[in-house]
Symmetry: C2
Amino acid sequence: MIKKYCFGNVFKTESVVKNINVSTDKVPYFNIETKDDEIVLNYNLDSNDAIYGLGEVIRGINKRGWIYKSLCEDAFPVHESRTGSYAAHNFLIVSGVKTFGVYFDTPTAITYDIAFTDIDLMTIKACKDFDLYIVEGKDELDIVKQFREIIGQSYIPPFFAFGFAQSRWGYKCKEDLLRIANDYEKCNMPLDMINIDIDCMDDYKDFTFNDTFDDAKAIFEGLKERGIRVVPIVDAAIKKDDTYDVYNDCLANKACCVDKDGNPYVVGVWPGDSLLPDYLSANGREWFGAQYKRLLDLGIEAFWNDMNEPSLFYSRHRINEAFTLAGESANKNLSLQEFWNVTGAISALPNNIEDYKEFYHNVDGKLVCHYDVHNLYGYNMVRSASEYFKKYNPKKRYLIYSRSSFIGSHRYGGIWTGDNASWWSQLLLEVSQLPGLNMCGFIYSGADLGGFGESSTEDLMIRWLQFGIFVPLFRNHSSFYTRLQEFCYLKRKEIYANLLTVRYALVPYLYNAYINAVYNNSMLFTPLSFIYKNDSRVTDIQDQLMFGNDIMLAPIYTQNTKGRYVYLPERMLEVRMTSSSKYETRVLEKGDHFIEVPFDEIVFFVKEGSVIPVSHAKKNIADINYNDLYAIRFNNNDNEVELYQEIDDEIVLKKVSLK
Amino acid sequence: MIKKYCFGNVFKTESVVKNINVSTDKVPYFNIETKDDEIVLNYNLDSNDAIYGLGEVIRGINKRGWIYKSLCEDAFPVHESRTGSYAAHNFLIVSGVKTFGVYFDTPTAITYDIAFTDIDLMTIKACKDFDLYIVEGKDELDIVKQFREIIGQSYIPPFFAFGFAQSRWGYKCKEDLLRIANDYEKCNMPLDMINIDIDCMDDYKDFTFNDTFDDAKAIFEGLKERGIRVVPIVDAAIKKDDTYDVYNDCLANKACCVDKDGNPYVVGVWPGDSLLPDYLSANGREWFGAQYKRLLDLGIEAFWNDMNEPSLFYSRHRINEAFTLAGESANKNLSLQEFWNVTGAISALPNNIEDYKEFYHNVDGKLVCHYDVHNLYGYNMVRSASEYFKKYNPKKRYLIYSRSSFIGSHRYGGIWTGDNASWWSQLLLEVSQLPGLNMCGFIYSGADLGGFGESSTEDLMIRWLQFGIFVPLFRNHSSFYTRLQEFCYLKRKEIYANLLTVRYALVPYLYNAYINAVYNNSMLFTPLSFIYKNDSRVTDIQDQLMFGNDIMLAPIYTQNTKGRYVYLPERMLEVRMTSSSKYETRVLEKGDHFIEVPFDEIVFFVKEGSVIPVSHAKKNIADINYNDLYAIRFNNNDNEVELYQEIDDEIVLKKVSLK
């Protein structure tokens, strides 16, 4: 049962698509205080209460013991003290003495102090305008299901999106793309997508390619014939350049954010001075979405949206103030405080919250301050593309995923978890994030495999690959200043070539589980504590996940170890795969096990009574043959299973024979 | 057996105190290449080889899989991508197919690429001048012992240094110190030391106190009568201020570093423009050490040395260049690259390596470029104090510990592991650092309990305390911008009060183990893999330690967990202490165990045949009564043990009866 309570008069986020009557009852569970400029909700925590959800934020599956702020930010570098993330996902479940879900529908900042200030208290502080949904159900999964029902069906990408993508901020020209394709091929490593990052644009201008792409359509078609799709980046802002037609068109269509006087607001991003399209206005969305025609006409079927928190390097006026102060301070005998005033003014240039308060959206003819609707920016950027795709080709699925997101955008596209780092802790972070994201409707998701920022090591690449093969968005991505981490450029080539095929082996299971999670409003990655309700040992387990209904994962996420402890909440079949066609199994009893995981094996655990459909594919998504699947079984002799498949852009549930 | 090989002509670091003849044999183990400006040593790694040592650097006990740079730096924030640390500890052990120790005696930068660039290779790059020591022995402990013998006996602090210290960057006046003393007392929490940070100085001037300390000697005496010693900070640099006698005296004595023309070199640190005392010159050391008289005469017996990498906020000329560039760039239509040129120039001001190349030490009448001897700066700062203490009172032990260090300074003082963060990962980092530090001779050491930077949570404070009670330097320290983390200001007061007494319960064991480690050149914290040589399971264990000879530790370092897995390499007695007088035990068999550790218990494991002497002390170090010890035993019925004790400033080995 879901009850809706209204506080003030909130801007309509459209995150909830089901009409729910407003309750006039007293809000249960919380002790609510109304202050001058905010509403404070307190909940007394029992020492065993756990808090789940909040989507992309950091820390473990249980969010207890930290303070989180929902205000989309360019959160690089992600580290243990971050309170925010690239996204704002305001759904959580309190699980314990009382179990219920809470969704705060508000487009601006909100903080969750979960036993941070007071170890026995959760304090949520919101501005005065929000809709509050309280979800009651028989358990966590039921609460998730009810919540997901009211926010609408999650995005389903095209089937090829479950293949492997190679990306790097650093590919500069068509030769780079062809080199990657060739080098993966030479190494017998499967590859379905190559991402194109900002250097391939002409001067960071959205929807353009630089001169090396003299025959862009032919290049992309040539790659597609080899089974490889390109995935160009589309950044949030538009370069200010009156020789750039998109810029001129943006101005002509009044499609950008404006200052208080109605003049286009200028910010600095990758292209230098730029405009921010007004994705919150129907006009701005429609205008921006239509720009995708330039790429779609080249045969492109996949896109990523970046910098859309929005991330700002500076606002024009603040730069001038800070630099002037610095100039005035040169050659003076500064005190340390005066020195810091200068360096502080300069370090405050990027993503300054005061800038967010200085520009406006035009929503139905009314100017709305950006800060008040900040968290909807990335959401509506993705929506603008998604709505145009439907016009361009109503029958086709396109791949799109975004850095920033908000509950609601899960209907329009996927997300990656933003610019992470090549840290062992961030492999574990991905394990924690996935269930929280699934709770909020984001099923097509994943972290940059191997880590984006900082240099990765080869052992981290292997361990991350051993987990990444299970994750829907399966992309190796890194930054230009880091060591190369393409699998084809690392040393253990044979291991990568084999482990990558295990992904393709499991895609039939993954895709079926994915569609089930979407259609049933269930989770693809589920904490063990949601399922094994009567086993007190699982409540603490934050480094194992159920993957679909039949498989349990227990990834290795520490360096210089041959194995790890795994708790089996029931008797399971341990499966060790070394390629799409080779595996070994043994039955393990319920309880604690120390499991060795060599670099060249993918280890997972299958529940009793399950049959896992497996493909022999070795090359790419197109190599998966549903007429030639085999089974990994644990006390289930079915020779036929029903699997969701994508056939001619349609999703069909179809019986499949297993060898 | 230790062999010494000389490359070039290295500056004498005095880290090795034993005379060893130079070998003219070919250096074993390494493949050595001489390049234009460096010497490169390669060692092929077997997949099971482990690398131990390198002192304070990050990552696990096994250092394999990262690149480390020995060039002392203000390493805040410490995170997974740091290559350097506050210290330079150039001793490591290769353990595996071949097992041997390596010490690079060089005062400047050196890098250790340990399976980072190539997963099968260790590559060490050094400048052309260094002494190389190769240590061969029957196992890792024997190699450590031989190495420690040549670097001289480790520092032994006074007995009170094993008590608990409360510190915070933020205590501003005498009232703050008295408040801490009173509030700990009110909460019945033991306390032996309060650290005094920079705000208590007069305008950041070393050896001064601000106006609130109108009666400094009386204040300190008053606290000492209550069992509490103050521990003032001494920063590396001296404020440039001609009303400050220490500054004038420094100039008059020509005791500071100079530029290439011999003029005092001016840098910016906490006091603003400052001079860097020339600790590398005998004259500078003698002059600076003598300044301690000002504090010693106030009855102070304990000190900490900070900022002595040295950390520099800016050099005077670089500030002017950067600020001028910024001023010239204001109100221009900058490209993004031009924008970054400005912000880059400003962010490059602190700790700029080019600055290290611009100033000089005067060593025996010769100017030596600082960069070439950089790693010796903190080492010789501590040495200058230590040498003066011997003059001031030859019979007395003083407590001194430093942020920066080098092998050699282990003879003069302790170290803390520098400004860490309130991150769960840094609790585990401390566990990893301690054995590496012990290998390099640093026995009196510890991390800032609860974390220095960033805000801590109460559960992290509890878990860190549960480990911290075993660590010699037992100090809760935090930064001014973080939430208060003094135990007396947190909520679970009863737990802290009780757990703190467990420290005092175990000080007789800790002190005895400490002195043994110093006298025997052995380790206080030992990796299990050094001891249980024939158990393949222990080689991977990086989160358990032997503590002395009789106790094994397995701390909890993850959030929201009731327990952890522990591997017992032999049958052990599990001890659960809730205060200095209360404990429970049970025998656990060799093998894997899941151990629950509630917040209010200290859990450790005792080897069979051991007897642990325990005190009932509840208040402070002076409350430990060696005539009233009791025993925690596991199949050992001895009623008398020999324990090292400090009696009248002497260390004596004495028989003690146990109840």
